[in-house]
């Protein structure tokens, strides 16, 4: 029953801090992804958990047992990394069958597990091949099968699919998840691919610059990100900066972008760059007049039109991209912000580059954050 806990983990390499004060609990049977831009410390984290590196400070616990100082091979975990080295002189079958044989399992059981694992990665038909006869993707699949055969209850996957083709990656990630769930394993999967993380995980640990930014379900990370970095890193996001002009009902000061709808009691009016205005929600009364704020809105939650004035900002279309089932417009707004707007391809109104349009910001589709002290650009930066 592998349950994982990291307590106060810090790792320093000379002056560089790769991980700083990481606290994390992973439940038994959970599929957790560690996601973040390159250099964020995600690989450091799993190398420490697996015992390849020792932490500078802090401890790891597996099933309540402190494993700090215990070597990797005594931690009973399977480790799958980006480029698995297969034994070059052994066939696919022998490679996969290696751990069960070494562990002296019952022969029948060993063969059954090996067959199952190779079948899972669709490599059984190549069981007689040697590694040099396989493509990169095939080698990786055999590597995954070999790790699965070892029978550990804790699986660490360090960018297991990065070296593979898009399609193969897609297939394999579903299969790995299915297998983990079916066998009741606990999996910690490191990736820089947000879609991979979204589609496989029960929860995602989002990291940046050696720290954990947020630990959440994929839905919450996408729909209700707790901070601006998350919003930008998971999916596409538009940001508009401004400050609160008015809270609640009351007389609305003259407005540059045409008539605003009444500002409700749980709403605020925000002033953007060049003195344009947007209505935002303020249910908890979190924002007060004068506060600096940043509005985040997903491209699919904006709409464009020629005549819709309410909750809208004017702009000009600078780019139009066909994306299959939807069209992505890039619009330069009067506020000097550039936003992406995505509308279904089937929508009858097609707008052209250079056209003047109104972009509608429905208050309930906007997420509002306090203006970060270090500046928006700094907060969104991937490093």
């Amino acid at each position: 029953m592998p349950e994982i806990e990291l307590r106060g983990i810090t790792k320093r390499f000379g002056k560089v801090t790769a991980a700083e004060n990481i606290n994390l609990k992973i439940r038994d049977g959970e599929y957790v992804t560690v996601l973040g831009p390159s250099g964020c410390g995600k690989t450091t984290l799993v190398k420490i958990l697996s015992g390849i590196w020792e932490p500078t400070e802090g401890d790891c616990f597996i099933d309540g047992r402190k494993v700090t100082g215990i070597p990797t091979y005594e931690r009973d975990l399977g480790y799958i990394f980006q480029n698995i080295a297969l034994f070059p002189h052994m066939t696919v079958w022998q490679n996969a069958n290696y751990a069960p044989i070494v562990k002296d399992w019952d022969r029948e059981e060993a063969d059954k597990v090996t067959t199952e694992s190779l079948e899972l990665v669709k490599s059984l038909r190549r069981k007689g091949f040697k590694p040099f006869e396989l493509s990169g993707g095939e080698k990786q699949k055999v590597g995954i099968a070999r790790a699965l055969c070892a029978g550990s209850k804790l699986l660490i996957l360090d960018e297991p699919l990065s070296a593979l083709d898009a399609r193969v990656r897609l297939e394999l990630r579903y299969e790995i998840k299915r297998l983990v769930k079916e066998r009741g394993l606990t999996a910690i999967h490191v990736t820089h691919d947000q879609e991979e993380a979204m589609s496989t995980s029960d929860r995602i640990v989002l990291m940046r610059a050696g720290r954990i930014v947020e630990v959440e379900t994929p839905e919450n990370l996408y729909n209700r990100p707790k901070n601006l970095f998350t919003a930008n890193f998971i999916g596409e996001a538009n940001f508009i900066e401004g400050s609160i002009l008015q809270c609640g009902t009351g007389e609305i000061a003259e407005c540059k972008t045409g008539p605003l709808s009444e500002c409700g009691s749980d709403e605020c009016i925000m002033e953007t760059r060049h003195k344009h205005r947007l209505v935002i929600k303020n249910p908890a009364g979190q924002f007060k007049v004068g506060h600096g704020v940043v509005v985040m809105v997903r491209p699919e939650n904006l709409s464009i039109s020629h005549d819709e004035k309410e909750h809208s900002l004017e702009g000009r279309i600078t780019d139009k991209i066909f994306m299959g089932s939807f069209i992505r417009y890039r619009v330069g707004l009067v506020t000097d912000d550039t936003v992406l707007v995505e509308v279904p391809e089937a929508d009858d109104k097609i707008f052209n580059i250079g056209e003047k349009v109104n972009v509608k910001f429905r208050p309930k589709k906007l997420l509002v954050y306090p203006q970060p002290m270090e500046g928006l650009k700094e907060v969104l930066s991937l490093e």
């Binding site: 193969v168 879609e195 979204m198 729909n223 596409e236 089932s325 991937l382």
Partner: protein, 367 residues
């Protein structure tokens, strides 16, 4: 006027034919993407144009001039590989001006062009940094600046964004295209990422087994794929095998192997012919109630995968057919695993193809 014309180009490595008597024309200023699965011959084609491989037969013309026997440096092309190959001991500035300096250009001119290019890729502030001090995205931009400094008008890009973080890739895609267009260059960009191809290209050529199987603007490749393989490669499609059993003015009718009938898009195929019909997962609509009785099928949700903007569904229809659907997440939250639903397939989106020579399964294989 850097226009590229390729005639009957063929490249064989021993018995393996990587590029198979391929014809292609690239217009001046065009942003062309070569899209296809691994092993389709994409990179080989690019290397042939660059002069890094020698063709077995056929010809390549640049600006109307045959370059078959010209070495890479005389082809007015610049090749940007996946790995960037920056000189590790040189800083961003030295890497950028390497070409012009080596060619013995006037130092003043080198200074100007080097600065211009680094500024264009937003890297001038980091000009003193060594490659290992730069992030992947910055290295990529550095390599791009170096490539642009070479003053070639044709840019050959081999999966230039592959090694980058997903987030960075989205931003750089846009910048890359803008740069190429602003500088009036012609670009040939190899990728296996269909979304990248849709976003960045003026035109896409689909390559498979060394041959061009379709060429056209992104919208055309997406909406009017010429084979089930392309239909499935750009996006993803659900397929039904059957026989054409009726034809009308606005479409045709296909009877599946189970005996069920489907209204499908217009086709040239005659009544009685065996055919394959396919619809993209984005247009496979999941709802609570039947739409209008045409192509409405009851089924059950088997698996739901949240991807952010979209949610993917695996469904099993009551007729035993497995289908996939990709819905905007804003509507997808209404359905859960185990729910009874209706699956609707818009006849116009249910495209008809002749049965592929080696069968449908073989046709859809990625290799």
């Amino acid at each position: 006027m850097p226009e590229i014309r390729i005639e009957k180009l063929r490249k064989a490595f021993g018995g393996l034919v990587a590029v198979d008597s391929l014809d292609l024309q690239v217009r001046d200023g065009e942003y062309l993407t070569i899209l296809g699965p691994t092993g389709a011959g994409k990179t080989t084609l690019l290397r042939l144009i660059a002069g890094l491989e020698e063709q077995t037969s056929g010809s390549i013309f640049i600006d109307g001039k045959c370059v078959n026997s010209l070495p890479p440096e005389d082809r007015k092309v610049t090749f940007l590989s996946q790995t960037y190959s920056l000189f590790p001991h040189m800083d961003a500035w030295q890497n950028t001006i390497f070409g012009p300096t080596a060619r013995g250009w006037d130092p003043e001119k080198v200074e100007i062009i080097g600065r211009e290019m680094l500024e264009m890729v937003h890297l001038y502030e980091r000009k003193d940094a060594l490659p290992n001090e730069l992030s992947g995205g910055m290295q990529q931009r550095n390599a791009l600046a170096r490539a642009l400094c070479a003053d070639a008008k044709i840019l050959l890009l081999d999966e230039p964004l592959r090694a980058l973080d997903a987030r960075l890739r989205l931003d750089l895609r846009y910048e890359l295209k803008k740069l190429v267009k602003d500088m009036g260059m012609t670009a040939i960009h190899v990728t296996h990422d269909q979304e990248e191809a849709l976003t960045i290209s003026d035109r896409i050529i689909m390559l498979r087994s060394g041959k061009v199987i379709q060429s056209g603007p992104p919208q055309e490749i997406f909406n009017k794929p010429e084979s089930p393989f392309i239909h499935h490669f750009i996006g993803e499609a659900n397929f039904i095998e059957g026989t054409i059993t009726g034809k009308g003015e606005r479409g045709a009718r296909l009877t599946g192997q189970s005996g069920r009938t489907y209204d499908v898009a217009p086709t040239e195929l005659k009544v009685g012919t065996k055919a394959v019909a396919g619809i993209k997962t984005e247009f496979t609509i999941v709802g609570k109630e039947p739409r209008d009785g045409v192509n409405d099928f009851p089924g059950t949700v088997q698996r739901k995968l949240f991807l952010g903007r979209f949610t993917d569904y695996d469904l099993i229809l009551d007729n035993g057919h497995n289908v996939h659907a990709r819905l905007p997440s804003s509507v997808a939250h209404k359905f859960d695993e185990g729910d009874r639903v209706n699956v609707h397939m818009d006849p116009e989106r249910l495209l008809v193809f002749p049965v592929p020579g080696k069968g449908l399964a073989k046709e859809l294989e990625m290799m």
